[in-house]
């Protein structure tokens, strides 16, 4: 230890995930693995069997009489407010009382001695409905006159109407972009243990413990200080556990308090997929004007989203679709509007990218329109439309924020070269010209993604740091661990700041007892926010330690140095443990609460103006595909990625995020298809019917690199950048490459306008349409 010149697990190092060893041994505990106290009961949801209907009668006598049933919970059992709407809209009852608004909506919960018995009993309800007409997609719901779930947003800059007059080229069309199920491997789960007085502890799998805490308090009618929510780790979240856990936490807590016994609720995969929200699918109508060089002059776009029966997070999700409808491109004149459409489907929610990917995919479709109209390489069109800088005046977004940190030109240029894009595209064009059954396509697509919650107040974080008198360190922050390695990164920050080895620091569960009023671990913000809060806590403790040393040994503050695992005070050197022990004996406060709030940001939604984002993350991917024009089957031959994470806190974890996000983005646009029947029933509700990518779907050649020269120009934690969401949109390169391969059957004269997801069926049907068109 003494001879160590650097600490283990410093920032910018490839430190392995702090739970990796436990995970590979099956010893990492998830909520369902927590040992159940004696007397634990199990809840299961009973759900609606119509997409829209008035509840005329609910006979639960057979449910109550079923073997093992202890109780049945309905709206009448809710002591507080029957609502779990995350945005305070009061439009999301735990259990509806008068009508159901989607097929599979929870209407009651049965509590039984075992989960199996609860599940079986839940099937026995007899519910009588007056069936009402339903509309399940954004277009038919709009036509049926259904309302919006929340206020739409408009972003406008320039003079759109005038710009369309006399523009050289104008194209308008519609694009339909499918939704996506999160398909986290661990489904929803909540486990409530009653305490004395009004208290209840809820163990669950949520990205947003504070919200779950507030919701449980709200439905129980108790103050938040009666409720503790704990999250050790999640088996994946991806946004699906930002607000959707509220209902499960509420049901478990209501049952636990009513019966004074622990209650666990875990839906099966099918109920998880039917009763909880997904990525919004969009219908995008765009109108586009551009000059003969392929430069965009004017864009008008309307983004209608299937929001489901309630608002949930649909407001900010549809807002973010507009924030990213420019992707990396400058629109001189632009008007973008959202239409958060109510539908008779499950309420859609957050999902990695949070509406952003749907905006970006529309921008890329518009690039394609220009390329096919003018007979150009789409990459050339992309480059012609990239944001510029303050000098050329092409740096203003549709929401009037200046792009100050633009590196997309360099990222794309480097990738174009390292992926050998030009030569490969040429070879593909030649190969396709031979007219074979197998056609190829290649596409290089960029992404620029704004970082910060657009709800400005969410951009705050807290941390609680204890140094025990044996020198061991306990770190708690408000973020949650869902596999992304947040705990690892934050611990690296602390290790680095104190100059102690990583293993000295223990991070346990996230709990509302230790850090209050936290924000969701979402919007890619986890390490930006919590890393800074942790650093603040460390700095407080360090300042006290320095002051102690200055007083004790009569040295200047500059003579107190935190060296690797030791502290130098003037000429003396102390092992960290020893120094801490001395500080303790001298009654130094060795615990601190850190705090951080993101500077510079502001947003006026009504005006559509402000600086919603602290900074942007950039990246680009180049994908090559081959398609079978007889069947529509395809495979990804090669993908090259160059992604900007600033100065990475942990390059290997960031690379894992980039690769995983790419594959998930690819899945969204290829094989992952949500399919409802006419009755409004989701029929793709488990992995047997809903197909996420497998190992064999990854690109045959897959090169992922981080832009190692990049550094955040803003004062983020160690100049790093957020990584969770931005690379999701790199998957668009696969979709665009498929589009090129399809376009080859019509000699690239027609923009394929393929909707997403590009299943083999959609690829073949688009081929057939193009063949018929030329």
């Amino acid at each position: 230890m003494k001879d160590q010149t650097t600490i283990r697990g410093a920032v910018h190092q490839n430190q392995k995930h702090d739970s990796a060893v436990k995970q590979v041994q099956g010893r990492a505990d998830y909520t369902d693995d927590i040992a159940e106290p004696v007397g634990t009961l199990h809840a299961y949801l009973g759900v609606s069997s119509v997409a829209h209907g008035r509840i005329k009668g609910m006979d639960l006598s057979r449910v109550r009489a079923a073997p093992g049933v202890v109780d049945v919970l309905t709206a009448e059992d809710i002591p507080g407010v029957n609502d779990v709407s995350p945005t305070g809209k009061h439009d999301e009852p735990v259990f509806p009382t008068d009508k159901v608004e989607f097929h599979g909506q929870p209407i009651f919960a049965v509590i039984a001695e075992t989960r199996d018995l609860a599940r079986r009993a839940a099937e026995l309800a007899e519910v009588e409905y007056e069936v009402l007409p339903h509309a399940i997609d954004a277009v038919s719901a709009h036509e049926a006159g259904m309302p919006l779930v929340t206020d739409p947003l408009k972003l406008e800059r320039g003079d759109v109407d005038a710009a369309f007059e006399g523009v050289a080229n104008r194209v308008s069309a519609r694009m339909v972009v499918g939704g996506q199920d999160h398909m986290y491997l661990e489904g929803h789960i909540a486990f409530a243990i009653p305490g004395e007085d009004e208290d209840v502890i809820v163990h669950c799998s949520t990205q947003h413990p504070s919200e779950a805490q507030h919701m449980v308090a709200h439905v129980l009618g108790v103050p938040s200080n009666a409720v503790v929510v704990n999250v050790r780790r999640m088996g994946g979240g991806f946004g699906g556990k930002e607000s959707q856990m509220n209902l499960f936490c509420a049901v478990a807590a209501i049952g636990a308090k009513k019966l004074n016994r622990p209650v666990k609720i875990r839906p099966d995969r099918d109920q998880d997929m039917t009763a909880t929200g997904k990525r919004h699918d969009f219908v995008i109508d765009y109108d586009l004007g551009f000059d003969n060089d392929g430069r965009i002059e004017v864009v008008e776009g309307q983004f209608a989203a299937r929001c489901g029966y309630s608002s949930d997070l649909s407001g900010p999700v549809t807002d973010r679709a507009l924030f990213h409808a420019d992707n990396a491109y400058f629109y001189p004149h632009v008007r973008l509007t959202s239409r958060p459409q109510k539908t008779n489907t499950v309420s859609n929610t957050a999902f990695r990218g949070f509406g952003g990917p749907q905006g970006v995919v529309a921008a890329e479709r518009m690039i394609e329109e220009i390329a096919y109209a003018l007979g150009k390489d789409p990459l050339e069109v992309r480059k012609a439309n990239f944001y510029g800088d303050a000098n050329d005046g092409r740096n203003l977004t549709p929401y009037h924020q200046e792009v100050e940190d633009n590196v997309i030109g360099r990222v794309v240029e480097e990738l174009e070269s390292s992926a050998d894009y030009q030569a490969r595209r040429k070879a593909i064009l030649e190969e396709n010209a031979k007219g074979g059954i197998i056609r190829r396509g290649i596409a290089l697509t960029p992404v620029k993604f704004g970082i910060s919650f657009t709800a400005t107040w969410y951009n705050q974080a807290g941390c609680l740091l204890h140094v025990y008198n044996d020198g061991s360190i306990m770190l708690n922050h408000g973020g949650t661990e869902m596999g992304q390695g947040l705990n690892t990164k934050v611990a690296q920050v602390v290790a680095d700041a104190l100059q102690v080895d990583f293993d000295r620091i223990k991070i346990t569960k996230t709990t509302t007892e230790k850090v209050p009023n936290t924000s969701a671990t979402a919007a890619s913000s986890g390490s930006d926010l919590n890393g800074m809060a942790a650093l603040d806590a460390v700095e407080q403790i360090k300042a006290r330690l320095v002051a102690f040393a200055v007083a004790e040994w009569d040295v200047s503050p500059e003579e107190v140095v935190f060296a690797p695992n030791e502290i130098r005070v003037g000429q003396e050197t102390f092992a960290f443990d020893e120094f801490i022990k001395r500080a303790y004996m001298a009654r130094v406060h060795l615990s601190a609460a850190g705090f951080y709030k993101t500077p510079k940001i502001h947003w006026d939604r009504a005006a559509g103006k402000g600086r919603p984002f602290y900074y942007y993350a950039y990246g680009a991917a180049c994908s090559e595909v081959a398609i079978d024009t007889l069947t529509g089957e395809y495979r990804v031959e090669r993908t090259d990625i160059l992604h900007d994470v600033g100065r990475s806190l942990n390059p290997i974890l960031d690379k894992g995020q980039v690769e995983g996000a790419f594959i998930q983005g690819m899945g969204w646009l290829t094989t992952e298809e949500l399919w409802w029947d006419d009755a409004g029933r989701l029929r793709t509700h488990a992995p047997s019917t809903y197909k996420i990518p497998l190992a064999s779907d990854r690109p045959r050649i897959f090169n992922t690199n981080l832009a190692d020269w990049s550094e955040n120009r803003e004062m983020t934690i160690k100049r790093s950048k957020a990584v969770g969401e931005p690379p999701f949109m790199l998957g668009i390169s696969v979709f665009e490459a498929l589009s090129m391969a399809v376009a080859s059957v019509a000699d690239y004269r027609v923009c394929p306008r393929m909707d997403a997801p590009a299943t083999p069926e959609r690829v073949l049907m688009t081929i057939e349409r193009l063949k018929a068109e030329v």
């Binding site: 392995k16 031979k434 995983g660 047997s688 019917t689 990854r698 069926e761």
Partner: protein
């Protein structure tokens, strides 16, 4: 005669007896709830995600073989005499990491970690059999494991590197092989096993003649071999299936006979067990076989079960029908053999009399001049149920199509031959025009459904195009690839 009323097996290192287990208790619930072995996870409870992957070792002809299975749809009562190995058993008694675990850590193969134990178990099974696998072998072994975080790249890299962390010869299961073999031999049952309450009864017949007797007594029984379909009746639909007759332990149903005339496969032979013989006798099925479900399901599911359940979207019936396979049904007092296509009467209805069970399937080997192909279309290439599957067998005589047998899955209520398309080919010379005519004739043969897997329009179009592909693929004039390479 007294029946045994308990199940005995080896759980990790421990001899274990469960008295009177219910038929429908899954191995996963037993592990997690009864034994609190929580390393094995539930991701889907339908055998599609692999989070619950464990190894089951079983004696076959006295030899011990370990295979991955999905614990979520495997019934505990079917595991008499087996060795169940879970993730908790991989690290040595001293807590030392297993080479598979080390490789996964060093390659950053876990993120959220929930799928990880399942991946580790699949990779463990692969490494025991194939210590230095190719990337394609890794992908095939991982077809039944879903990961939503990593994008798989680090997991595949870990799989390719396991060998650097240790050799299977030093592995605990291999070192203990003779001991475990002896212990399992002692656990085998020589009598019929009957366990569980009347409404959840499990019966494990002593042998095939006992099976016939059991079915004569309980013609309403649910016959379960691999439980890859019936498992879901329980976990998804909570359907009562008592009494359940388990047959996967019956060695007599495991026979595989390959001679010059035919390949005969016992009804209890799994996809994995038949793989070598299928590859030898019918090389054109090699790729197709690897696309049946995922590895765990191929280790459990049987061809007999795939036939007997009569699904219109089973993978094997179309190719078996096109090859002219026959099925032998047996019951107490006799057996009968019929062409497989005659077995499928209508949706959910097969030519099975009370007490009948599928005993074997006989597939004649190719005649001179016979050209065979099998194609499967699905939304995702691997581990997906087909939207359209087809077996095509054509006999060419001097450039003329003398015989044609074309059978489709996913196009009708049963696996079904395309009579009009066949008629359009027979007597024609080998040509694009002939296959184009056959493709067009499919509209007379089929009126497919639209569902979440595919639309009717796509099904009909792609079915025709598969006939065109068959022609192109076997046409001497082709000079460019006509379908995507697998590797």
């Amino acid at each position: 005669m007294a029946h045994q009323n308990e199940i005995r097996f080896l759980l990790n290192g421990k001899d274990t007896t469960v008295v009177d287990p219910k038929a429908t208790t899954t191995l996963l619930d037993y592990l997690r709830i009864d034994q609190r072995l929580t390393g094995t996870k539930e991701g889907c409870a339908e055998g599609d995600c692999g989070a619950c992957t464990v190894l089951v070792g079983r004696l076959r002809d006295g030899k011990l073989k370990y295979e991955t299975v999905n614990a979520c749809i495997r019934f505990l009562a079917s595991l008499n005499g087996c060795h169940i190995v879970t993730i908790e058993h991989l690290s040595g008694p001293d807590g030392r990491l297993h080479p598979v675990q080390e490789a996964m850590i060093e390659h950053h193969g876990s993120q959220c970690g929930f799928c990880t134990p399942g991946f580790v178990m699949s990779l463990y099974a692969l490494w025991m059999e194939t210590p230095a696998p190719s990337a394609q072998e890794v992908e095939t072994a991982l077809q039944g494991n879903l990961c939503r975080c990593t994008g798989y790249e680090p997991i595949v890299q870990a799989a390719l590197a396991i060998n650097q962390y240790g050799s299977p010869s030093n592995d605990y299961l291999n070192r203990e092989r003779s001991d475990v073999t002896a212990r399992l031999a002692a656990l085998q049952s020589t009598s019929r096993i009957e366990t569980g309450p009347a409404d959840d009864r499990a019966i494990l017949p002593r042998d095939v003649s006992d099976l016939a007797e059991v079915l004569a007594e309980h013609p309403e029984a649910t016959l379960v071999a691999g439980s890859t379909d019936v498992g879901l009746w329980v976990t998804k639909f909570m359907r009562p299936i008592s009494p359940v007759v388990f047959i996967n332990h019956l060695e007599e149903l495991k026979d595989i006979t390959l001679d010059d005339d035919a390949l005969t496969i016992g009804a209890g032979v799994t996809y994995s067990e038949s793989e070598a013989a299928i590859r030898e006798a019918f090389p054109h099925l090699r790729e197709y076989w690897d696309r049946i479900a995922g590895w765990q399901v191929r280790n459990m599911g049987t061809i007999g079960g795939n036939v007997a359940n009569g699904s219109p979207i089973g993978d094997t019936p179309p190719v078996l029908i096109s090859l002219g396979a026959e099925v032998t049904l047996q019951k107490a007092g006799g057996a009968r053999t019929l062409p497989l296509e005659a077995f499928f009467i209508d949706y959910g209805k097969q030519d099975r009399e009370a007490g009948d069970f599928v005993a074997s399937i006989c597939i004649p080997r190719a005649k001179p001049g016979q050209i065979d192909a099998a194609y499967k279309i699905s939304k995702r290439r691997d581990e997906d149920i087909s939207s359209v599957a087809v077996g095509i067998s054509v006999v060419l005589e001097k450039g003329t199509i003398a015989e044609a047998r074309i059978a489709f899955g996913g196009m009708a209520a049963t696996p079904k031959r395309a009579a009009s398309a066949e008629a359009a080919l027979v007597g024609q010379s080998w040509s694009a025009e002939a296959f184009d005519a056959a493709a067009k004739a499919l509209a007379q043969d089929f009126t497919p459904l639209s569902d979440w897997r595919a639309s009717a329009e796509y099904r009909l179009l792609v079915a025709g195009n598969l006939l065109r592909r068959f022609h192109l693929e076997h046409d001497t004039a082709k000079d460019a690839p006509v379908r995507l390479a697998i590797a």
